[in-house]
């Protein structure tokens, strides 16, 4: 449709575009420029070419941060996506009233992550913590430990909280997808004598495969961007055992005032996230045609 006046569309787009350009577009471009300089924010900017990037690939902490991030991704794929999928399967079993459970499982998703992080720091706490007092109460003193202070358990402990938050979220999106499967398909499977478990894994899961792929993509790219839980619960510690890309980035920029280097770290991370996103969308478009049948 033609606009009523030539300039109307530009007037309509202008407020959104200007704000967006100021806080996202321009900073994104400037950030790329910053990644090529050495700058503390106050001193003279020095052009250093790709030095910041070569430094990043030799930075042990940065590489550790990637290893931890991938570990975290692996754990959250299980604790969030897989658990969410099983929960969705359980609450969609035929003939059950599950509205209450579905509402309850989603509660953590809408709470501020900082509140959850503080709460779970107490749950894990050595002296008053729910877990340790529970273990001691059950006579299992040997298992009680400083969950967030032990390099062997810290990353798992944070991932469990992440799972506690997001399992309900993935359950909700899988639940919505499962509800869209036509009942005659499920009835046919049931008439064939398939058990509920068999129906779930052989009929329901393949049919919601596109949604599962979206969930995996969300979980992976989301894990790269997570910050709040780590910052509040461990701030990368102990001894970088829970250092992830974002916590290290914030430390480099806002504590060490190393803006150029931080910008380079951010650029690398952006490339990784975009490449992962593109790989996934390739996989999806390749298999996509098969299972859009419902």
């Amino acid at each position: 449709m033609k606009p009523d006046r030539v300039w109307t569309p530009y007037l309509l787009v202008a407020p959104a575009f200007l704000v967006f350009a100021f806080v996202v577009l321009l900073p994104a471009l400037l950030n790329t420029g910053l990644s090529l300089v050495d700058w503390s924010g106050t001193n003279q900017m020095v052009f250093v070419g790709i030095d910041n990037f070569t430094r990043a690939f030799r930075d042990d902490i940065y590489l550790t941060a990637y290893r931890n991030t991938f570990g975290y991704i692996g754990l959250t794929l299980i604790l969030e996506v897989a658990v969410g999928l099983i929960m969705a399967g359980v609450v969609t079993m035929p003939g059950r009233k599950t509205a209450f459970y579905r509402v309850a499982f989603f509660v953590p998703v809408m709470l501020p992550m900082v509140v959850i992080a503080v709460l779970w720091s107490f749950v894990y706490s050595d002296d008053i913590g729910l877990i340790n007092t529970g273990l001691r109460g059950a006579g299992l003193d040997g298992l009680a430990q400083v969950w967030l202070g032990n390099p062997a358990t810290a990353l798992i402990a944070v991932s469990v909280v992440s799972g506690w938050i997001y399992a309900g979220f993935y359950m909700a999106i899988f639940y919505a997808a499962l509800q869209r499967i036509p009942t005659n398909v499920l009835e046919a499977a049931m008439l064939d004598g398939a058990s509920p478990w068999r129906i779930f894994f052989s009929v329901k899961v393949p049919m919601i495969r596109p949604m599962i792929e979206i969930a995996v993509l969300l979980c992976v790219t989301g894990a790269f961007q997570s910050f709040d839980l780590f910052y509040v619960m461990t701030n990368g510690g102990p001894d970088h055992a829970t250092e992830i890309v974002t916590t290290y980035l914030v430390e480099v920029v806002f504590r060490f005032n190393n803006l150029g280097y931080g910008a380079a770290l951010a650029t690398i991370m952006t490339v990784v996230v975009l490449v992962l996103g593109l790989i996934f969308s390739r996989i999806r478009s390749k298999v996509g045609g098969v299972d859009v049948e419902y």
Binding site: T8, P15, P112
Partner: protein
């Protein structure tokens, strides 16, 4: 074949399986609810009781610890800041987003693709990828450590999704409706007010729900861009509070409860809207 052997004990089986089913799900629900219950219950206990009997109910329900947490923690100030930041940001996202989405979806104009492209890119970019430059830019314009340091980025962050979702909803409306109104002499602003706004209510509600929760819960920018205590929003304020009273557990649990309970209350009332808003906003 096997139906005959199954038929007889079926009723007992159904009841038993129902009990097992709901026991399992109730146990799982407890995993989700128990930390929150523990938080509320512990706020009414002494430090000693939290330590000695974590699962026992409190002896008295003394809300004075709640009022003292509210006052000592300046939670009122943080709450007001969160409300102002969230309301202004979400209003900006909805208004700017709807205007732009209407132009992109319904109007033909030069450079429309080029103007739309950055918004789609914004959906993919992580905040961290422009955080460093953004903080310097806000500083250069002297808006670091003011409310605008959060409001403007929140609007910018929310706009990508708002433009994308609202454009999608608008694209699905029939063309004829707009063309008929145009033939009747309606300009674009009248079309927006009289046709688009009423029809877009569900879409706007989804965007609003998602944006409200994102702004309300946002922490990274809020902790980096705001230094003045009287401008802090709830997540950052709470963290400052935690640092200050790190061993005064009952007060801390009271503060956490004060923040959590109203949100859970609102969620219980509007749970359908909240679940839809968050899931649709995330899976676009």
């Amino acid at each position: 074949m096997s139906t005959d052997t199954r038929r007889r004990p079926v009723r007992v089986n159904v009841r038993l399986s129902s009990i097992v089913y709901h026991t399992v799900l109730t146990t799982v629900s407890l995993v989700f609810v128990l930390p929150l219950l523990w938080m509320i219950v512990s706020s009414f206990k002494t430090k000693r009781e939290i330590f000695d009997s974590p699962f026992a109910l409190p002896k008295t329900l003394d809300f004075s610890v709640w009022t003292s947490a509210w006052e000592r923690g300046d939670l009122g100030v943080y709450a007001v800041n969160s409300v102002i930041t969230t309301v202004v940001s979400v209003a900006g996202i909805l208004i700017f987003g709807l205007l732009a989405a209407y132009a992109f979806s319904r109007l033909k104009f030069r450079f429309s693709r080029w103007l739309l492209l950055p918004f789609l890119l914004g959906l993919l970019l992580p905040v961290q990828s422009y955080l460093t430059a953004q903080s310097r830019l806000l500083d250069a314009f002297y808006i670091l450590d003011t409310r605008w340091a959060l409001i403007l980025p929140y609007i910018g962050l929310g706009l990508s999704l708002a433009v994308f979702l609202l454009k999608g909803y608008l694209d699905s409306l029939p063309r004829e409706m707009f063309e008929a109104a145009r033939i009747d002499g309606a300009g674009d602003f009248r079309l927006l007010a009289q046709i688009v706004l009423p029809l877009m209510r569900p879409g706007l509600a989804t965007v609003a729900t998602f944006s409200v929760l994102s702004a309300w819960n946002e922490f990274l920018l809020a902790t980096l861009y705001i230094q003045s205590d009287d401008l802090r929003t709830i997540p950052v304020g709470l963290l400052a509070f935690t640092g200050k009273y790190s061993t005064d557990y009952p007060t801390l649990f009271a503060a956490l409860s004060i923040i959590t309970i109203p949100m859970v209350g609102i969620y219980v009332i509007f749970h359908r809207q909240v679940i839809n808003g968050i899931t649709e906003g995330s899976v676009h």
